[in-house]
């Protein structure tokens, strides 16, 4: 129930709601029966109004053939159909093409051989159509195919593709077919190649930077997540270069659809994981699970390409933007940079979905907008990482200063005037009355100070050494207070380490607050090692604790001693300790629990 309650938090609900909105948008997307091409606009469009029928009949190439019974397929399905079969698309050419231009079709690499028919006329063959080709063998690249000016009068024309052979189940056979003026298609191809090259540089830099940061000492999982995020677009861009360049090896398969999907959805999810850990977002499990559900919804729903895929990718980025906003609100260093970067990507995706990006590219073709925006996003993220590294360096410096302060505190505590002067005064008093006892007191004081000077610079010492220090202190205080104090160690944890003077401070507190002058006392120290933690219990039988039985532990004011103990525990085992105290069974009991691996152990 608690898990359910956590999932029903507003952020999660919003993400789920957006999922449904996305599903609705995708489901409601209307498919036009005809692809319109404005010849005067000098723009290219991709053909997305396909009809498919399996089988093979050359009559199907003719414009007069009635394909009313053929199945309309989406752009995504068009990529996965296999032969033998036919794809038909109606192209409505409008306007007049420039005198120096010629209409062309752009085919990237296809997995199967195919023939291109324009208004029933065979105008190109990608490979042998004898049917002898191996299933799944790659057809040679057709590239940009000129249709010819005489065939492109403004009217509706029929483009028919004859798919000669089948593919392996689930594998893509075809790529997007673009139509437009030849020069425009050629420039677009070159721009796509350039963009892929720039992306390779950007994402490779991102992968290497984050890995170097990680290997350089900041072992944060966020860096691995970001590296993982950048790997997929990098592979995608490399593959693209291989496919678009003229020197494509024939053995290179088409980009598998699963890789394309992972490259988009899973890498976006990894980006969210990066943001969650990088910005130290609360409820990490929930924040990692919700986008994972979005990814599953996209994959199960089949929205693994085209517009649907972009929408889901945008949803994941919006979720990431929410995490950045939350980090900004909490004042996490670097959140602002991350927010600007992710926000830019959300705008980029929105612009793609609303075709604003295409218009922008056409309006200012000299700027590679996609590369600029991607580069800006990656720069923002790396800037955010550098902020966090600077913050970490500051924290480490502060910890170092605190450690030095605690060392000073330890020495100050040990040689505080009150302790030293009272001890000296006791010695002075005993010199005349009881010289042997004065000598014993001097020895006890020297023994305690010898241990303190040895352990002062250490962050952790053997528990046996700490016990020895406590015994010495009890001996000294016994001499001073004319009483007998004992420390009984019940069960030991040999080899375990503890921060220096933690038990000593607690023993000192016990002597000060629990016992009357001249009252004999016994301290009990137990150590219990469980799978998860090591629990120390220090109890004393002082008579003055009786008045505390009526007080709640919270009501007892914490003095310098307890503050010192807590600071030491936090320094040695940050966030992996607990300290409780109170009266139990008539004894004052202080419990310190340390996580098993919080302190070094030589056991």
């Amino acid at each position: 129930m608690r898990l359910l309650a956590r999932f029903l938090r507003p952020a999660s609900l919003l993400a789920i709601l957006l999922c449904f909105v996305a599903l609705a948008v995708c489901a409601g997307a209307q498919q036009s029966a005809v692809t319109r091409v404005d010849l005067s606009s000098a723009r290219d469009v991709y053909i997305n109004a396909w009809k498919f029928h399996s089988g093979d009949d050359l009559e199907w190439a003719k414009p007069g053939f009635d394909d009313g019974s053929w199945r309309k397929i989406s752009e995504d399905e068009a990529r996965r159909v296999g032969g033998p079969g036919w794809l038909r698309a109606a192209l409505a050419l409008e306007g007049a093409i420039d005198d120096t231009e010629v209409l062309a079709l752009q085919f990237d690499r296809w997995a199967i051989p195919f023939q291109v028919f324009w208004d029933g006329e065979l105008i190109a063959t990608s490979a042998t159509t004898s049917g002898a080709g191996r299933p799944g063998a790659l057809a040679p690249r057709l590239g940009i195919l000129r249709v010819g000016r005489e065939r492109t009068q403004p009217s509706t024309h029929l483009l028919a593709l004859r798919l000669v052979q089948g593919t392996q189940p689930g594998e893509p056979c075809c790529s997007v077919v673009w139509v437009g003026p030849y020069t425009v298609l050629r420039n677009a191809l070159q721009a796509s190649l350039d963009l892929s090259r720039i992306n390779v540089g950007l994402y490779l830099a991102a992968v290497l930077f984050s890995l170097f940061f990680y290997l350089g000492g900041w072992r944060s999982p966020s860096l691995l997540f970001f590296s993982g995020y950048a790997v997929f677009p990098l592979i995608y861009a490399l593959w693209n270069i291989a496919e678009l360049s003229g020197t494509t090896p024939p053995s290179l398969p088409l980009l598998p659809s699963w890789l394309s999907t992972i490259g988009t959805l899973v890498s976006s999810w990894l980006l969210i994981l990066f943001l969650v850990w990088h910005l130290d977002a609360p409820r990490k499990v929930v924040n990692a699970s919700v986008p994972a559900i979005v990814v599953l919804v996209a994959m199960i729903g089949g929205f693994t390409s085209g517009r649907g895929l972009v929408i889901f990718e945008a949803l994941l980025f919006i979720y990431g933007l929410g995490i950045c906003l939350s980090g900004r609100r909490r004042g996490t260093p670097g959140a602002m940079f991350a927010m600007v970067g992710v926000g830019t990507m959300v705008l980029f995706q929105s612009a793609e979905l609303t075709h604003v990006m295409a218009r922008l590219c056409n309006a200012v073709p000299s700027i590679p907008w996609a590369a600029v925006l991607t580069g800006f996003f990656l720069a923002c993220v790396l800037g955010s990482i550098s902020f966090r590294i600077r913050e970490r360096a500051k924290t480490l410096q502060a910890l170092e200063i605190r450690s030095q302060r605690l060392e000073t505190e330890l020495l100050k505590k040990s040689i505080q005037p009150h302790f030293v002067m009272n001890t000296l005064f006791s010695i002075k008093s005993l010199i005349a009355r009881n010289p042997p006892k004065a000598e014993e007191l001097v020895e006890a004081m020297a023994a305690e100070f010898r241990i303190i000077s040895r352990i002062a610079p250490e962050r952790a010492i053997d528990v046996e050494e700490e016990i020895d220090l406590c015994q010495r202190h009890l001996q000294l205080m016994g001499h001073r207070r004319d009483a007998t104090y004992r420390l009984i160690v019940e069960g030991t944890c040999p080899g375990e380490q503890v921060p220096p003077m933690v038990f000593h401070t607690l023993v000192e507190n016990g002597l000060t607050h629990s016992y009357q002058p001249k009252e004999n006392g016994t301290f009990y120290l137990t150590c219990e090692r469980t799978e998860r933690e090591i629990v120390y219990r220090l109890r004393n039988d002082g008579s003055r604790i009786q008045h505390l039985t009526s007080l709640a532990a919270e009501a007892i004011e914490e003095g310098m001693g307890l503050k010192y103990v807590k600071a030491r525990l936090e320094e040695s085992a940050p966030g992996q300790w607990r300290l409780d105290y109170g009266v139990k069974d008539g004894l004052w009991e202080v419990t310190i629990a340390l996580a098993s691996r919080a302190m070094p152990c030589v056991c």
């Binding site: 005037p417 302790f419 030293v420 009272n422 005064f425 008093s429 009355r433 001073r480 607050h513 009357q516």
Partner: protein
């Protein structure tokens, strides 16, 4: 003299006992050592004392609360402490002397001489402590216009017209108050900061007039001293 030693370290307490005995000799009427605060309060509630030798840190408790409590009582207080950084604060609260631990018998003798009026020094008190409604309160000395003894009690007349009751002998207050407080009469101490004038009225009658118009009797024997102090 009746002395109470409040010290939780038995050996130190014994040392102080021996030192007090050797200094006061036959003038020591009683001597009690309390190793705890509870015992000290109990003793004080049952017996009268003249001098309290008080350790400021007993069983980890800040002795200033105790000191405030002690200073409101009708006896003199000498603080014994290893916390020398708090000496100024102790003097400001009106203790006779502050003995840093460890001290010698001779140093304790100097302090006790002050109590006995043998070694007068200007006081440094910035507050006097009085009890009201079962609580101890601090009275800033600059707000006192004059002090007037009535039997064993002293009335402190303040600038805002209040009169607070102090359970201290006037002689003790004379020792701990700063220089601007001058004894003008067997039963009066005046704050010179609030004095307007002093005059020989006639015969044996001498008067001190305060800025608010209050007129106080001035001893004939103290008139020359006052005249010297004020260059009159």
């Amino acid at each position: 003299m009746r002395v109470l030693i409040v010290e939780d370290e038995p050996h130190i307490a014994s040392y102080i006992e021996d030192a007090v005995r050797s200094i006061l000799g036959s003038t020591l009427r009683s001597l009690h050592t309390s190793l705890s605060l509870e015992d000290a309060f109990e003793w004080r509630s049952k017996r009268a004392i003249d001098l309290c030798l008080l350790d400021l840190n007993l069983s980890g408790e800040d002795g200033f609360d105790l000191l405030t409590e002690a200073l409101s009582g009708p006896f003199l207080t000498i603080v014994i402490s290893a916390h020398t950084e708090r000496a100024i604060q102790a003097f400001e609260h009106g203790v006779i002397d502050f003995l840093p631990k460890p001290f010698t018998v001779d140093r304790l003798r100097v302090a006790i001489d002050r109590v006995l009026g043998r070694n007068p020094q200007p006081g440094r008190a910035r507050y006097l402590v009085f009890r009201k409604h079962n609580r101890s309160h601090l009275l800033p000395v600059e707000t006192i216009r004059y002090l007037e003894a009535e039997r064993y009690l002293v009335h402190a007349h303040t600038t805002d017209g209040r009169v607070e009751l102090l359970e201290k002998p006037l002689s003790y207050l004379e020792m701990v108050l700063p220089e601007q407080f001058v004894r003008i009469h067997r039963s009066r101490i005046v704050n010179l900061d609030h004095m307007a004038s002093f005059e020989h009225v006639s015969g044996n009658e001498y008067r001190v007039r305060l800025k608010d118009g209050t007129s106080l009797a001035l001893s004939r024997s103290r008139y020359p001293m006052l005249a010297r102090r004020l260059g009159g």
